[in-house]
Amino acid sequence: MNRWWPLLPISVMAAVPIWVAPSAPVVALEAVACLFCALGVFRRRVGPVTAGGCIAMIGYTFAVWSTNHAVDVIGAAIFGLALLFVLDVSEFARRFHGAQIANDVMRAQTNYWLGRAALVAGAIAVLTLGGSAVAAIVPGSGRAVIAGLGAVIAFAGALYGGIVRRPS
């Protein structure tokens, strides 16, 4: 895989916060994030890419916090997907650097990434609709509790599914 490919999701990742709030601090934070990600891509290190993702998320947080608009689900979904693609593509390029990759492997991997993006978009839509329904039913004080519980359960589930689980 060409090492320039990860630059596409990196640029999307940096563009979303700037599009939300085109202020100097956001631009500076996203520029630093891009630099870290590019460093990780070209030096084939996961650490700088992760650090770049964290900085980009700080920039996105600052952007949504400073604008104080209504919740932008589509922008957040694009930002999250871009982050995931930055990690995936840069890691794919890193781990198979110098290897001869069969064409069917490349094709199947691209299909997998696109299919997963579609699934994630669907999941976000379902979650948004579910959240709207819950917001209509549950009173204001209970929403924060449900949101917090959902976040903790999602994080724990992701950790268990991705890292902790061992073969039976």
């Binding site: 996961v46 890419v49 992760t50 993702g53 964290c54 998320m57 700080i58 996105y60 947080t61 949504v64 916090w65 919740v71 932008d72 689900v73 922008g75 957040a76 979904a77 930002f79 999250g80 997907l81 982050l83 995931l84 990690l87 995936d88 890691e91 794919f92 781990r95 198979f96 110098g98 290897a99 001869q100 990759i101 069969a102 069917d104 492997v105 199947a108 991997q109 997998y112 997963r116 993006a117 699934l119 994630v120 999941a123 976000i124 979650l127 948004t128 959240g131 949101a147 917090g148 976040a151 999602a154 994080f155 589930g157 992701a158 599914g161 991705g162 890292i163 689980r165 061992r166 073969p167």
Partner: protein, 425 residues
């Protein structure tokens, strides 16, 4: 093979945690939404009940080749479980280079199917190598989990030294009793005419020289010289080496030894071999194709080994160094112990020819090529020449060989005429 989480999984977990923390601190729902794709990526790890089962088979196009030859390695992977992404790395020993293709591939193997790939490697240096170690990584499609294993099945290849054909070789001063290509001073059955003497009872009538007999009015017979072979012992200096493989002085010496062994065996001589290094190794002199194969096999592992023991040639069995053998020493003449052994051999009456392999060029190849290196090499070359002149004055017959020049051209002058050496200790 136990699947384990990859750095990508930890990176995704870090970003999820960071997004949730920032979302809680700023009370913005966008950050929770942004964490959803990452959580989905982490949850996308396939079932980790067990790694897919597959069988790996490796084939080599040849297992015996000469320096500079190529060998094609074919790897076949057959899986009984679906393996969406198998990364296979065939470990290459040092000195083996990729000539075509890649020794690391990523394949997808379906259940009950077999995938194959080939690549060619170049073997520029002599030696025995094993291409049977294969490292495997079975990746999850999400890239968040991987299982690793290593398979080792012996796939040895032997890379023999390149033996350049040579026509001119130093002629042995003494011959042996068996039939060969050299005209012996002894008279007997042969085709080379020698002296003419009066006929004696018992002489064969076909030997009568009629022209001389008619002129002298008395029967005369022509005597013939016998054609005999010789014993040649190749003495390889493995005490010192200069430069890096495959262009080191030891490699050049081994190539020269292989070429000389082939040339002398083609002349029906008995050829033996002694490796004079950290320990002594030898092969008794013999003739024939089998001896040629044995000599090349014994040249293959020649290397320098450090030892506190000073090797001594007088401890060799007498049949390894026959008294009238021609000893051809191949050495860069860097180690004093080898030079002393050569002078001792010559003083004991052996017919010794030294093929002095120049260490300057081999060393220059591994140096940077700066002005200082150049001056140092030139000074070293002068010092080496002085050493050779000193050894010549001590009575050793020395042929100077710079490995860039053809060996045949270097040996041609000494093959035509060689002064009888008399060594002084």
């Amino acid at each position: 093979m136990i699947p384990r989480a990859t750095p990508l999984a930890f990176a995704a977990a870090t970003l999820i945690a960071w997004a949730l923390l920032l979302g809680l601190v700023t009370d913005r729902a966008e950050l929770f939404v942004a964490a959803v794709p990452l959580a989905a990526g982490l949850l996308g790890v396939g079932p980790r009940t067990r790694a897919p089962r597959f069988e790996l088979r490796q084939e080599l196009s040849a297992d015996r080749l000469a320096e500079g030859d190529r060998v094609v390695v074919s790897v076949h992977v057959a899986a009984s479980d679906p393996a969406p992404m198998i990364e296979i790395l065939v470990a290459l020993p040092p000195l083996i280079e990729i000539a075509a293709g890649s020794n690391r591939v990523v394949l997808a193997v379906g259940p009950g199917t077999e995938e194959s790939w080939s690549f060619a490697v170049l073997c520029p240096a002599r030696g025995r190598f094993d291409l049977g170690t294969v490292y495997l990584r079975v990746w999850d499609r999400s890239g968040m989990a991987v299982s690793e294993s290593r398979q080792a099945s012996a796939q040895p290849i032997s890379v023999y030294p390149y033996a350049a054909p040579i026509r001119h070789v130093p002629r042995p001063a003494r011959t042996q009793l068996s039939f060969g290509n050299y005209v012996s001073p002894l008279l007997g059955e042969g085709i080379e005419p020698g002296e003419i003497r009066p006929f004696l009872p018992g002489d064969r009538t076909r030997r009568i020289n009629w022209r001389v007999s008619l002129r002298r009015q008395q029967l005369y017979v022509t005597q013939f010289h016998e054609e005999r072979n010789a014993d040649v012992v190749l003495l390889l200096d493995a005490l010192s080496d200069s430069g890096a493989a495959p262009y080191s002085t030891l490699d050049a010496s081994v190539r020269a030894a292989a070429a000389l062994a082939g040339a002398y065996l083609a002349r029906k001589d008995r050829v033996g071999f002694v490796e004079f290094g950290g320990f002594l190794r030898w092969i008794n002199p013999a003739t024939g194709q089998r001896q040629g194969a044995a000599l090349v096999e014994s040249l293959l592992p020649a290397a320098t080994h450090f030892s506190y023991v000073v090797p001594q040639l007088d401890r060799l069995p007498a049949r390894v160094l026959p008294p009238q053998a021609l000893v051809i020493a191949l050495s860069p003449l860097l180690d004093r112990r080898f030079v002393t052994a050569l002078i001792d051999l010559a003083a004991r009456g052996f017919d010794v020819v030294v093929l002095a392999v120049s260490p300057i060029e081999a060393t220059r190849l591994v140096l940077g090529g700066s002005l200082l290196d150049d001056v140092a090499c030139r000074l070293w070359a002068m010092e080496w020449q002085t050493k050779l002149d000193g050894l010549r004055r001590q009575g050793l017959a020395i042929v100077e060989w710079h490995p860039g020049t053809p060996l045949d051209a270097v040996l041609a002058p000494i093959a035509r005429s060689r002064p009888r050496p008399v060594a002084r200790r």
